[in-house]
C-alpha cells in the first residue's frame, strides 16, 4: 500500500498522519488533489497492528505491569498515565528520540502511522466566542485572527464525520455541537450534578463528557461496546482515529499515496517564488534521502515537531528557519496545567453498582471569569470527573492474607469520586523551544530543547482548581475528601500548543488567519502549533476544524492561481 511511491510530484504533501494530518489528507483528496501523506514512524494497519486489542487479562504475560525493558526505553513516556504496559508499542522510544529539558518538560509522542490519534483521550469540546476574544480583551499576547463564527461551520463539519457523543447543554462558554446521543452518567454523578447545580445557583454545571466514541453506528464504523480499552486500538473502529476514520476516507478517493518511515527533515523553499517547492525526506530505516515536490504543503507533524521542521527549513534565507522572520517561531508554547483537584468517598449508593466500562466521565465547564464572576487571575479551568466503585485494585487495610482478604476484594469497594482540573495556560513569549544542535537523535538530527514553565496567572488559578474541587465534593456530601496539587510538569497534559501562532500581523505571528506561513503561503500549519491561546478545553477538535477550514481555503486559492 505505501512502500516507495513511484512518483515524486504531487498536488499536496501532508506531513504527519495524526489527528490533524489525517484530516488534511481526507479533505484534500476529497477535494480532488493527489496527496502524499508522510509519517515518520512505522505502518500501523487498522486491526492487524493492534496486538493487545482483544487479549483477555490472563493473556497479558505481565498482567498490566511494566517490564524493565519498557521502563528503560520509555523514561519520559512513563511519567504519565496514558502510557500503559498494554499500549507501550504506540509510544516513542525515548532513547532514540531524546530532547533537552532546560526546564522539566514531558513530551509524549506517538511515532507511527496515526500518531497519537490512536491513544488520545477523545474528549472533544468546541472553543467558545470568549476564548477567541480573550487575548484582545485583556491585552495578552496577540489577537486571534479569527473568531468563533469563522470556525463554527467547520466544527460542525468535523463533528458530523468524526462522531462526537454528547448532550446539548446550551452553555455560552461551551457551545453545543452536532452530537450523537450522549453516554450516561451513573447514579453518583447524577446526584453530584444536582448538588452542584443547587449549591452554586446554576452558575456551575456538570455535563456528560463529549467524546469521540460512537454511541451508535456511524459512517460505517461500529458503536462503542464499553470495553474502555481504546488506546490499544478498537476492533470496532468505535473511536475516532486516523486509522478508523480519516485514512480510509482518503484512500477511498484513490488519490492518496502513503509513505511511512518518512522523516521530513525540511520544507524545501524556493526563495525566488517565496513558496515551498516540496519536502526532503529521510528514510527512517535505510537513511536514504528523497525530495518530493508539491504545490501545497500541510505541516501537521504535531505542535513541537512542526516547529522543529520549520526551524530546519529555509535556513539559507532565515537562519532561525521558515516562519522565524516574526521572531515568534518556537515561542508562546502552551499546555493545560493539570494534576490538581480532589477526590472523596460518596455514601448512600451502596445498593447500586455499574456495569460496562465507560470510556468517558463527566465534565465541569469553565465558570471562573465567566459572566459576573471575577477572580484575581484571568481565564479559567474545567474539570474532568467520574465516580465508580473500585474492585480488587483497592487497598484493604484490615486483612493481609487469607479468606477474608479474598472475600473483601471479590466485592466492589465504596463509591469514589475524583475530579481533575485542566487550566488555561497563557501564551508567554519566553515559553519556548529551540534547536539544541549539541545533541543528535538516532538519525543524527538535532533535537529540541524545551524551556517552558507555568507562571503567576496559572499558579493563582491552581489554588481555585484545588479548593473548588473539594468544595463541590463537599456540597455533594462526599467524605474523606483529599484535595491535591501535585507537581505539574509542562507538557504532561499532552495538550502542547503554540510555537507557530496565528495572528493578524507578520511581524508578530508565524501564520495568518488561514494557517498559512506568512513567508510561504503555500505552507499551512494546522496542528496545535497554530494556537494563539490555549483556552481550557481539550484541543483536538479545534485542530480538526482548523485543518478542514484551511484545506478548503487552500484548494480555493490553488484554483484562483494564488498559490
Amino acid at each position: 500500500m505505501q512502500s516507495q511511491p513511484s512518483s515524486t510530484a504531487f498536488d499536496a504533501i501532508v506531513i504527519g498522519s495524526g489527528i490533524s494530518g489525517g484530516w488534511a489528507a481526507k479533505e484534500l483528496t476529497e477535494l480532488g488533489l493527489n496527496v502524499l501523506l508522510l509519517d515518520r514512524g512505522r505502518q500501523v494497519e487498522h486491526l492487524r497492528d493492534y496486538p493487545t486489542a482483544t487479549l483477555q487479562p490472563w493473556q497479558y504475560r505481565h498482567r498490566g505491569l511494566f517490564t524493565r525493558e519498557q521502563r528503560q526505553t520509555h523514561p519520559v513516556q512513563r511519567r504519565a498515565g496514558p502510557f500503559t504496559p498494554l499500549n507501550a508499542h504506540f509510544w516513542v522510544n525515548d532513547l532514540e528520540s531524546p530532547y533537552t529539558e532546560r526546564q522539566p518538560f514531558s513530551w509524549f509522542r506517538g511515532y507511527q502511522l496515526g500518531g497519537r490519534s490512536l491513544t488520545w483521550g477523545r474528549q472533544s469540546y468546541r472553543l467558545s466566542p470568549m476564548d477567541f476574544e480573550g487575548n484582545a480583551r485583556e491585552g495578552v499576547a496577540v489577537d486571534w485572527p479569527i473568531r468563533y463564527q469563522d470556525l463554527e461551520p467547520w466544527y460542525a463539519h468535523v463533528e458530523r464525520f468524526a462522531g462526537i457523543s454528547g448532550s446539548r447543554d446550551g452553555l455560552a462558554q461551551l457551545p453545543d455541537g452536532e452530537f450523537l446521543p450522549p453516554m450516561a452518567m451513573n447514579c453518583v454523578e447524577e446526584s453530584f450534578t444536582k448538588a452542584v447545580h443547587s449549591r452554586f445557583g446554576g452558575q456551575r454545571s456538570v455535563i456528560i463528557g463529549r467524546t469521540a466514541n460512537l454511541t451508535q453506528r456511524h459512517q460505517g464504523r461500529g458503536q462503542c461496546l464499553y470495553r474502555n480499552q481504546c488506546s490499544q486500538g478498537c476492533p470496532f473502529g468505535a473511536y475516532f482515529s486516523t486509522q478508523s476514520a480519516t485514512l480510509p476516507a482518503a484512500q477511498a478517493t484513490g488519490r492518496l499515496t502513503l509513505r511511512t518511515n518518512a522523516i521530513v527533515t525540511e520544507v524545501v523553499y524556493d526563495r525566488d517564488r517565496r513558496r515551498a517547492r516540496g519536502v526532503r525526506v529521510l528514510d527512517a530505516v535505510d537513511k536514504t534521502t528523497q525530495d518530493y515536490s508539491a504545490r501545497l504543503v500541510f505541516l501537521c507533524a504535531s505542535t513541537l515537531n512542526s516547529a522543529w521542521v520549520l526551524m530546519n527549513s529555509a535556513t539559507d534565507v532565515w537562519p532561525e528557519g521558515l516562519g522565524s522572520s516574526s521572531g515568534e517561531l518556537g515561542h508562546n508554547v502552551m499546555d493545560h496545567h493539570a494534576r490538581v483537584g480532589a477526590s472523596g468517598l460518596v455514601a448512600g449508593f451502596e445498593d447500586k453498582y455499574h456495569s460496562g466500562r465507560r470510556p468517558n466521565g463527566v465534565y465541569i465547564p469553565r465558570y471562573r471569569n465567566v459572566g459576573n464572576d471575577r477572580r484575581d487571575y484571568v481565564r479559567g479551568f474545567g474539570y474532568q470527573a467520574s465516580a465508580s466503585r473500585i474492585g480488587w485494585q483497592r487497598n484493604i487495610a484490615e486483612y493481609a492474607f487469607g479468606a477474608e482478604l479474598k472475600e473483601a476484594l471479590s466485592e466492589p469497594g465504596p463509591w469514589v469520586m475524583g475530579m481533575i482540573g485542566f487550566g488555561e495556560t497563557l501564551p508567554h513569549h519566553d515559553n519556548r523551544v529551540t534547536l539544541d544542535r549539541s545533541r543528535r537523535d538516532k538519525w543524527g538530527l538535532p533535537v529540541l530543547a524545551m524551556d517552558c514553565r507555568i507562571r503567576d496567572n496559572e499558579q493563582a488559578m491552581r489554588t481555585d482548581m484545588m479548593n473548588d474541587a473539594a468544595e463541590m465534593l463537599e456540597a455533594a456530601g462526599a467524605t474523606s475528601i483529599r484535595s491535591f496539587d501535585e507537581y505539574y510538569e509542562f507538557g504532561s497534559t499532552i495538550h502542547e500548543m503554540g510555537a507557530a501562532r496565528m495572528g493578524r500581523d507578520p511581524k508578530t505571528s508565524v501564520l495568518n488567519g488561514f494557517n498559512q506561513v506568512w513567508d510561504a503561503p503555500n505552507v499551512f500549519v494546522t496542528d496545535g502549533a497554530c494556537m494563539t491561546s490555549s483556552a481550557c478545553q481539550n484541543p483536538s477538535l479545534t485542530y480538526m476544524a482548523l485543518t478542514a477550514r484551511a484545506a478548503h481555503y487552500a484548494v480555493e486559492e490553488l484554483k484562483r492561481g494564488n498559490l
Binding site: R63, E190, H354, S355, R357, W392, A400, F401, E411
Partner: protein
C-alpha cells in the same frame, strides 16, 4: 502503572541518597534483606512451587479456586524476573528464603510441608514485622531526624517489604487469572452497554476489570 495496591517504590526511584535516609535505616535495622544475586539464574521449579504455596495462603481456595490453582506462583516468578529492578529482585528473593527459614526454624520442615494453620502463623509474624516497618517508615519526625544524624554509611537502597510485593503480586495475578476473573469475580470482556445504576446486594461479585 506500578504495582499499586500498596505502592511498591518504582524502579529508577528506588535508589535514594542521604536526604531520605530514614528508610535506609529501616533497612539497616531489619537487615539482611537483600539476597546476593550475582550468581542467580532465576527461579527454580521448587521456588515456583513455594511461591504457589505462599500465594495460596494469601488467596486460598474457598468456595472458589485459590491462587495455587491459578498458578499465581508462575506469574510472580515472571513478574519478579522481567519487571522488577535488581534491588527489588534481591529483596524479594531474600524474603522468599526468609519465609522458608522461618518455617524450618519453627517447625523443622519446609513451608511447603507445614499445615495451613502453621503457614498462617509464619505469615502473621511476617505481617507484624512488615507493619512495624511501615510505622517506622512513616516514623516520628524526631526519630527520623535522629536517624539521619546517627547514620553515616553509604546511600542505601529502599524498596518495599518483600511481603508487600508478594501480596500485591498475588492479588494482581489471581484476579487477572482466568479462574479468578471468571469464578471469583464476574467477567464480561465485551459489556456492550453501560448501566450506571445497576442494583447491587451485599455479596454480589465485583467486575473483573
Amino acid at each position: 502503572m506500578a504495582i499499586n495496591r500498596r505502592t511498591l517504590l518504582k524502579g529508577a526511584g528506588a535508589l535514594i541518597g542521604l536526604g531520605t535516609v530514614s528508610g535506609g535505616v529501616a533497612w539497616w535495622w531489619n537487615s539482611p534483606e537483600f539476597a546476593d544475586l550475582s550468581n542467580w539464574t532465576g527461579f527454580s521449579a521448587d521456588d515456583v512451587a513455594l511461591l504457589n504455596e505462599i500465594a495460596e495462603s494469601i488467596i486460598p481456595a474457598t468456595n472458589t479456586p485459590g491462587a495455587k490453582a491459578a498458578d499465581v506462583g508462575a506469574f510472580m516468578a515472571i513478574a519478579v524476573t522481567e519487571c522488577f529492578d535488581p534491588p527489588e529482585q534481591a529483596a524479594f528473593v531474600a524474603g522468599l528464603r526468609r519465609i522458608e527459614s522461618l518455617s524450618v526454624d519453627r517447625y523443622g520442615r519446609s513451608f511447603r510441608s507445614i499445615s495451613a494453620a502453621e503457614r498462617s502463623t509464619v505469615l502473621a509474624g511476617i505481617e507484624r514485622e512488615r507493619r512495624r516497618r511501615e510505622l517506622w517508615n512513616r516514623g516520628e519526625r524526631g526519630l527520623r531526624i535522629l536517624a539521619r544524624r546517627i547514620y553515616l554509611g553509604p546511600p542505601l537502597v529502599q524498596v518495599a517489604h518483600y511481603f508487600t510485593m508478594m501480596q500485591d503480586l498475588t492479588v494482581r495475578g489471581y484476579f487477572t487469572s482466568r479462574l479468578g476473573a471468571t469464578e471469583t469475580l464476574r467477567h464480561r470482556p465485551v459489556p456492550g452497554d453501560y448501566n450506571g445504576a445497576l442494583p447491587y446486594r451485599k455479596g454480589d461479585r465485583a467486575w473483573s476489570l
